[in-house]
Symmetry: C2
Subunit: 382 residues, 2 copies
């Protein structure tokens, strides 16, 4: 039995942060019903990346919303509101990621839901919390990266470099999922419901916790290396280097040992361990020039034998051809109700040795209305 | 009551991935006991970033291991092993992040622990899973970024650019925490224990799930823009741009509308929505040149009024002076048993309106041995 089997999540959230949390809960067994606006639905349905359209909707939507049901309802219409209330009353979890105040105006805020379902676990993700001058600003990933200081950690010394995925959305979703799960657990012991709140700004700040703890202590802003930066707080060789035919990643390691193994004499003088950080620019420059003189395979052959932490730098093409990738079965094919199939990733968690795969693709807008009404609303009215 | 109050986690993990999961569980109320080698302890105690030493140990260790206890024990010594068994027998959760096979050799693998504690929730994080040719490779963040294709998403077109934080470690920790919580929940219903497994490679792959779903559909590897890239799959203006006195982040928005608002006539011709992606290099170049002609404040003043998604690009210095930051109270001061205090981040989740702060700093190696023996081992032996 999957851990959340028979649990009902009513999910008002859109885009990525909330829906990515609900996806993890769905893969762990919960029944997730997306409440969507008639006609348009989750805005993400038409938020195209690379202008790729899959079966009439965005690839991003399909990735995030597989293994869920869609209930289309006009939250401002009396009849539809009553149906939503019927669902919310039976829900184990209700969640949303609207800006502060929106759910209060719509009438499905925590206090209102609690008044009819006192054991509900209610989750919300905001951009910047419910207080302060930023609370009404758009909670968008790149803006959060930019405001939270995160852009000064990646890339080489110079201007800000954002991380090229919606990392803050995903972390906020992960944090919400943990809070919801912990409170579901508590509820089975104490019967208590809960309000779980996460903001993207808090998640962005938590993400940088190691570096910020260091900053609080020494007061210095992060300084990235001139070239081959992979972490502002780590010394040479930490970084990715070009070789004669590709790239190689080097993590931690002794500089003189690397000099000996790679046949790079200029590295032998850096015997002071502290110099790997303080002189990392000059060490990295020597290493970068030297690594160009051999192939990735040559260097990996030498270094891996000596237990130096290193790796090839793969693209998805080369990754997916590799037996190391194939061994993990990370791909799954899912099918929509109209027969359209697509390939996507699966849940990264396995339980009791079983992969949490699911063959159900993303729902068409409102496709589950009849079944949900029959299953949860009519029955409930009897 | 915090959700995990009175729950006991015996944590054999080191570095970041496992310990970051345990930190979240500790902040949600669990009692976390780190099992550490005598003399050296968690290797992370002396894994320095920027060579910053705080109270004799690394800032990173202090950031990750606050709010935990330390039990030093030699897992190969008979007397100490018996003490560890006493703890493991009483544990709600046992977890580690050793490479596959190590826990089997040490004798505290899932089957062995299960035989004395059948309702245990046992968690493990590996680098590359328990099968396949990579299983014995070092599970280090930069190497995982490099192997999983992640380095082709950040930075501008050209070579690989890693993300400058240990993102895969943190995601794997988040995923493990979710699996553990879901199974703790299931245990309260069914009494069943569980084995929860996560690998860094699966977490790295899951992290890219939107882009990989797109790639599976159209077969094209990610292409970053020439300049101002912030997401390989999004069109102009998505990116960070230099201004006369700093930087500005622009998320999604209509190009002609931006042209009008910013007084940048050359943008007015891009009326075809699809061109924002296909012609993003030329659009971004026009925008980059134009934004240099005004200050960040000027541009933000115009764009925010028109509800365009944009933000300033802050450093931690400027962030922490801002009322938007202060409103969230994201900082906490913690104290070690010897009186050393330090400032760090807090748990990003709040429950029932309360922040999950904790005043307890990181433990000195073995500082809790006597109390743990008295509290959990002697009592247990009676």
């Amino acid at each position: 039995m999957r851990p959340l089997e028979d649990y009902l999540i009513i999910d008002f959230s859109q885009f990525l942060s909330g829906p990515s949390a609900a996806l993890k809960l769905a893969d762990m067994g919960a029944r997730v019903i997306k409440i969507e606006k008639p006609d348009t639905g989750d805005i993400c349905r038409h938020l195209y990346t690379s202008n790729v359209i899959m079966n009439g909707e965005s690839s991003v939507f399909h990735a995030i919303n597989r293994n869920k049901e869609s209930f289309s309802a006009d939250i401002k219409d009396d009849h539809d509101r009553q149906q939503i209330w019927d669902l919310v009353k039976q829900a184990d979890v209700v969640m949303h990621n609207f800006r502060p105040g929106v759910m209060e105006r719509l009438g499905f805020d925590y206090q209102s839901v609690y008044s009819v379902n006192p054991s509900v676990i209610y989750g919300e993700i905001s951009g910047y919390g419910n207080e302060g001058p930023w609370k009404d600003n758009p909670g968008q990933d790149l803006l959060l990266q930019s405001l939270s200081g995160l852009t000064w950690l990646s890339g080489n010394a110079g201007g800000p470099v954002p991380m090229g995925l919606s990392i803050i959305d995903m972390l906020a979703g992960n944090h919400l999922a943990q809070g919801l799960l912990a409170c579901l657990f508590r509820r089975t012991i104490s019967g208590e419901g809960a309000l779980v709140q996460v903001s993207m700004l808090e998640s962005a700040f938590d993400f940088q916790f190691e570096a910020i703890t260091t900053y609080y202590y020494d007061g210095k802003l992060p300084e990235r290396s001139q070239k081959n930066n992979a972490h502002a707080y780590l010394g040479a060789p930490y970084g990715i280097y070009q070789t004669a035919n590709g790239f190689i990643a080097l993590a931690m390691g002794s500089i003189p040992q690397l000099g000996t193994l790679l046949g790079c004499d200029p590295l032998l003088v850096y015997t002071d361990v502290a110099s790997a950080f303080h002189l990392r620019d000059e060490i990295k420059a020597i290493l970068a020039n030297h690594l160009l003189t051999g192939t990735t395979e040559q260097w990996l052959g030498i270094l891996q034998k000596a237990d130096i932490w290193c790796a090839d730098v793969l693209t998805w093409d080369t990754l997916m051809q590799h037996d190391g990738f194939k061994a993990l079965n990370m791909l799954q094919q899912v099918e929509m109700s109209d027969g359209f199939t697509y390939r996507t990733t699966r849940c990264p968690i396995s339980i009791d040795g079983e992969l949490l795969t699911s063959a159900k693709g993303s729902p068409k807008l409102g496709e589950d209305n009849a079944a949900i009404i029959n299953d949860l609303i009519t029955r409930h009215e009897h």
